[in-house]
């Protein structure tokens, strides 16, 4: 077992002290407290001011694996990387890594605005632990990768933010490391840059190096990592194949994942009972793939016949842009099927139009003259999957393409 692992952690914990009380922020206070402590009886330590960012973490990563770390903000993901990379020490337990460790913790760390692109390449590489001779040999590759050839001798403060990022990532992508630690590199830059980052990371992952990847982008984690670790409040909740761990994490992250139940109003002629969403491949996983059709189930109770009753489901982005507004009457006969009193289940199946992301569902029930139910944010829709390289778009029509030549050859 140990023969093939590159990362091992045993009972790793990291405690941080919070606030100014536990740690005096200036010397006067520290001195005053020092004297105070001598004079007064010893006060109980302020345990409540301490926070365990990580506790009892055991981890073993085989050589060549790509491990994704998922978890909410403050779950301890970055602390874990900081301990792996030795930026900080654990409060308890031990962590060990075999081989050369490279950190890609924040693109452009250590760049100095006054220095030229070339000078920054060498400086940044030295910070990342790459010998000068190796950088000199790879300089052409790095420069070509960054695409800033013409500005190599210009101070980077004159660079556009895009150029800056590209150059920084180019250096980081060329470091020699047996174990590469990557933290949220995809949080910056435009779509093109992110695609490039992801591609490079994939190449690195396939080259037999061990990669530990922290990201909120579950799409990227799923794509890059074979194994995933789920951290929750500093503790390991799950380790295993990425798909399973990410599924479990998603289910947990959205407690009401696909469904919401509404309180019944017996006085209303029509009442909304529940709204649920699921993919066509099955509701069990709580995970809907953007490539699958999406089903929205609206359960309602009709207490009296209402002529011309219609139901509509609208889909909005979390930012409030309405993408779809589908009504039952558009599909069926004008009279509508909701004529007899009783419970109904109305299902809308949407073709795979929407790109991965989160959407808000609204439900409306009424007639041309009257609104009986208007429930905004009646449901959530979370679509997983790949952007297929275009994270900027909201919709994909999957329209058909044809190519012909004017001559009709």
């Amino acid at each position: 077992m140990t023969g093939n692992t590159t990362i091992e952690m045993h009972g790793v914990g990291k405690r941080y002290r919070l606030g100014g009380t536990a740690a005096p922020d200036n010397l006067r206070e520290a001195l005053a407290r020092g004297f105070g402590r001598r004079l007064r009886a010893r006060q109980p330590p302020e345990e409540s001011r301490e926070v365990w960012a990580l506790r009892g973490v055991d981890l073993s990563v085989p050589a060549g694996a790509t491990l994704g770390i998922v978890g909410r903000n403050g779950a301890g993901k970055s602390t874990l990387l900081k301990i792996l990379s030795r930026i900080t020490d654990p409060t308890e337990g031990r962590s060990r890594v075999r081989g050369k460790v490279g950190s890609l913790l924040e693109v452009g760390t250590g760049f100095h605005p006054e220095l030229s692109g070339r000078e920054n390449i060498f400086l940044n590489a030295a910070i990342l632990g790459m010998p000068r001779s190796v950088v000199a040999r790879r300089l052409d590759d790095i420069v070509a990768f960054s695409g800033v050839e013409r500005f190599l001798d210009t101070p980077v403060k004159r660079y556009s933010s895009g150029m800056y990022l590209r150059l920084a990532f180019a250096v980081a992508a060329h470091i020699d490391a047996d174990v590469l630690l990557v933290d949220e590199v995809l949080a910056v830059g435009d779509a093109e840059f992110q695609r490039r980052c992801l591609g490079t990371m994939e190449t690195i992952g396939n080259s037999g190096r061990t990669v530990v990847f922290v990201s909120h982008n579950l799409d990227a984690v799923t794509r890059l990592c074979s194994t995933a670790l789920w951290l929750d409040a500093g503790r390991v909740r799950a380790v295993g194949p990425t798909a399973q761990v990410v599924d479990a994490y998603l289910l947990d992250a959205t407690p009401d994942a696909g469904s919401r139940v509404f309180a019944d109003d017996p006085a209303a002629p029509v009442a909304l009972a529940s709204v649920a969403t699921h993919g066509t491949s099955g509701p069990i996983t709580g995970r809907i793939l953007a490539d699958d059709p999406v089903v929205v189930d609206v359960a309602l109770v009709l207490r009296e016949p209402i002529p011309g009753l219609d139901l509509a489901v609208s889909v909005e982005t979390t930012g409030g842009t309405r993408l779809l507004d589908e009504s039952l009457s558009e599909a069926g006969p004008p009279t509508g099927p909701l004529t007899v009193a009783g419970p109904y289940m109305v299902s809308l199946t949407l073709p795979p139009l929407l790109m991965p992301g989160e959407y808000v569902l609204n439900v409306w029930i009424g007639t041309t003259y009257e609104t009986f139910v208007w429930e905004s944010a009646a449901g959530w829709l979370r679509l997983e999957g790949s952007h297929r390289g275009r994270p900027d778009r909201l919709l994909s029509s999957q329209g058909t393409w044809t190519v012909t030549t004017p001559e009709g050859r």
Binding site: E8, G99, T109
Partner: protein
């Protein structure tokens, strides 16, 4: 892949560590060079006078000392023209005081690096001290010119000048480690340091000769670790009387004690710097 053969690198709780991993620092020597070069380049970018500033400051200090101590107080200068006497003292003192100041602030000014990347932290204060050697070199050229003009070529003992310079740099580095460690947590350290160097300057034979101190108290005076290097510098460059063995031993012992304390303080806190910076 020969990863399986690579040694494990451990990260365990860093409390109670008392020494630095010097082989690792040597491994990162290129980083020290790059950080030092960056300092030099950045400091003189967009400055019209550039490196001239390295000479202007000691020149002004020398002028002030010459007027106040040379002309008004008639401070003794060991038989050397007071201008040369003061200038030599000032440039050696500047090397030490600037190095100390740079080492102290270096960690905080490189906070972004320290919290994001691993490398032996001691490279940062080390790289903070080294660029001061360049300033010193420039000042030394000016001093050489002055010596030629005054027709006072230094004696053969000038070959020992590098030892004196090394002494100053190591002392600045060692004391700097203490202040740098404190500065990470308490920014007061920098203010306190300003005060300390001001007092320390007048407690050292920069503007006056240590011959002002009664002989029986010399060794006490020499417990100030800068007395040795200052007298040594004047001896190598201006051929003043060499520092006595007592003075050398006194200064060297307190100096080494300070450096030892600095390394120890730093080593104890090195692993936690990223958390408190």
């Amino acid at each position: 892949m020969d990863v399986a053969a690579a040694p494990w690198v451990e990260n365990t709780p860093g409390r109670g560590r008392t020494g630095l991993d010097w082989p690792e620092v040597w491994h990162y020597r290129e980083l020290v060079t790059f950080l030092a070069l960056r300092d030099v380049k950045v400091r003189y970018k967009q400055a019209v006078f550039g490196l001239l500033w390295a000479v202007i400051r000691p020149l002004v200090a020398m002028a002030v000392f010459t007027v106040v101590f040379g002309r008004l107080v008639h401070a003794p200068s060991d038989g050397v023209p007071y201008v040369l006497f003061a200038f030599t003292g000032v440039i050696v003192w500047t090397l030490f005081a600037d190095g100390l100041d740079a080492a102290t602030t270096s960690l905080v000014s490189n906070a972004a690096l320290i919290t994001k990347v691993y490398f032996p932290r001691v490279t940062v204060p080390l790289a903070g001290v080294l660029p001061r050697l360049l300033d010193f070199g420039v000042s030394l050229v000016l001093l050489a010119v002055l010596l030629v003009v005054a027709r006072r070529p230094p004696g053969p003992q000038v070959v020992l000048l590098p030892v004196v310079v090394l002494w100053c740099v190591v002392l600045a580095f060692g004391v700097g480690l203490i202040f740098a460690t404190v500065h990470v947590r308490y920014r007061d350290a920098h203010h306190a340091l300003g005060l300390l160097t001001q007092v320390w300057l007048f407690a050292s034979p920069v503007a006056y000769s240590s011959s002002l101190v009664p002989p029986q108290w010399r060794w006490v005076y020499a417990l100030n670790p800068m007395v040795g290097p200052l007298e040594g510098a004047r001896w190598t460059l201006l051929s003043t009387p060499p520092p006595s063995v007592t003075v050398l031993l006194a200064s060297l012992s307190t100096g080494l004690l300070a450096v030892w304390a600095g390394v120890r303080t730093f080593a104890r806190n090195e692993r936690r710097l990223a958390d408190v910076i």
